[in-house]
């Protein structure tokens, strides 16, 4: 098991399977809130679902409806279980707040290097701690 430490963005503890991307994520125009899928044409995760996953990504980009679209995803039952990201921004901070899931940033190791899609990840934002169990 690998342990990372970082800053709590939003409170709580959650665990699940990781979905990792090196591409920044758009809300409006980049994802479908009713399906919980990434729809951006040139995106590494195009067509994949983030619902119920621990989403590990560099940060947010694009439209200011980022939070609104992740808000809609929560109401549609398609929220990710937790967020881990490198670059804080108003989009991703407000998005994490309205998703109401634990989120962390400023991790002591780059989560994009340490975590791979399919790994089991425990995000304990209140303790500032992430536990990664490699799938392989």
């Amino acid at each position: 098991m690998i342990v990372l430490h970082g800053r709590r963005v939003t409170p709580g503890r959650a665990e699940g399977e990781a979905l990792v991307t090196r591409d920044t994520i758009s809300g409006w125009g980049g994802m479908d809130p009713r399906q919980g899928t990434i729809i951006e044409r040139r995106h590494e995760l195009a067509g994949q679902s983030f619902a119920g996953k621990v989403l590990v990504f560099p940060g947010a980009k694009g439209s200011s409806a980022w939070s609104h679209y992740f808000h809609l995803a929560r109401l549609a039952g398609q929220a990710p279980r937790a967020l881990l990201f490198n670059r804080i921004s108003t989009k991703v901070a407000l998005g994490a707040v309205v998703l109401r899931v634990p989120a962390m940033t400023e991790l002591d190791r780059d989560p994009l290097e340490v975590i791979e899609t399919g790994d089991h990840v425990v995000v304990d934002a209140d303790a500032g701690r992430v536990e990664v169990t490699k799938a392989r």
Binding site: T10, R41, H68, A96
Partner: protein, 427 residues
Amino acid sequence: MKLTDAEKAMLDGAKGPAHRKAMELLVRYGEALGAERLVETNSVAGTWSAANPIVRDYAARGMDAVFSEFNLDSDEVVPTPPMETLACQLIGGLDRKRPGVLGIAPETAALNEAGERHFGAKGVAMHATCTPYQVGVVPVFGEHLAWMESSAVVYANAVCGARTNTEGRESTGAAAITRRIPYWGLHIPENRAGTHLVEVDVDLPAEMLDWGLLGYWVGEAVQDGIPVVEGRLHGRPSLIHLKHFGAAAASSGGVEMYHVPGVTPEAPDGESAFRGNGAPHALRYGAAQRRWAYEALNGSARDRAVDFVMLGCPHNSVEQVLRVVRALEGRRVSPSSALWVFAPRALAEVAEASGHGAAIRAAGGELLSDTCPAISRVVPKGTKVVATDSAKQAHYLPAITGVQCWFGSVEDCVDAAVTGHWHGGVA
């Protein structure tokens, strides 16, 4: 986060339940950012729309339910209080005067109308545009704002010298009643310095197409950095060029601020753009980079038969509508194509009074306002291939509606509408 006594009182419910929920949200949000305090604002641009899909389900429970869920992130339904700042409604999902052209269901149009009446009476100005700065909502240098709409945010910061982060629906909802937003990011002067130097190494005329291509490449290159653009700029860029540059850079990347030394107000010269930090190694924008942007923007397009031409993202100025009218002179839109030209609600009125609406309709096109195809998700029935003069629309529309999209100049787009075929290209 440190709160003032007035802010603590709002959090404790002294001004009622809406202010309490709004302050709770701002505290959760401020802590998520790592902000130390809030800052006062008197200018909010956001959305209070009730007619969008999913939001509509909440509107059945009343406008206060829409406001509580989507503008305050509150499970508890609280009454909508009067807005306490200047509040501007941004672009929405339909054209209030011409819902039929877009094939909007009458129930949806009625819901939109009810929402506009409810929030309008509370003090939200129903401008219904992505470009508040074109219709009198013009920030003053140094003013703290709480604005949504990435293309408006980057314009307000870079061109007006006002200070705003890219806010969201919930934070602007809270800001308009509390007059507060987290003091973070671009509100803090030190965070407004350039992070990347972009050396333009092709002749850059004062043309929308060229500024759109440059913006699209710059956004991809700097992501959420603050580019400083210098080099072979021929002719001073106008509102139109900077509007397109910022919108493109905020689509391919997350650019919220930039400097063009000698043009934008916080950078009288190249040195001041970096606030004395020294310029970093320059990124070169040459012919290959321009070509990359053009090909990336046309990456979804294969079929040359064009069903639909969309002009006006961000919303057109009257001058841009006139350019379309002139390009259409003596010509008619092909029966196999459609032409929709978008302007802000207020400017569509001006364009109509100037005869431009009639001229566009006489040529077989439509002059529309309040929305755009990417926001409304409405394109003419059966549309498979679109052409547009907007890098932002070309970036988003294929992802949102599954269409193919050509990007080019206004004249190439009008030509596609008239002939029904794409003949566009760049030298």
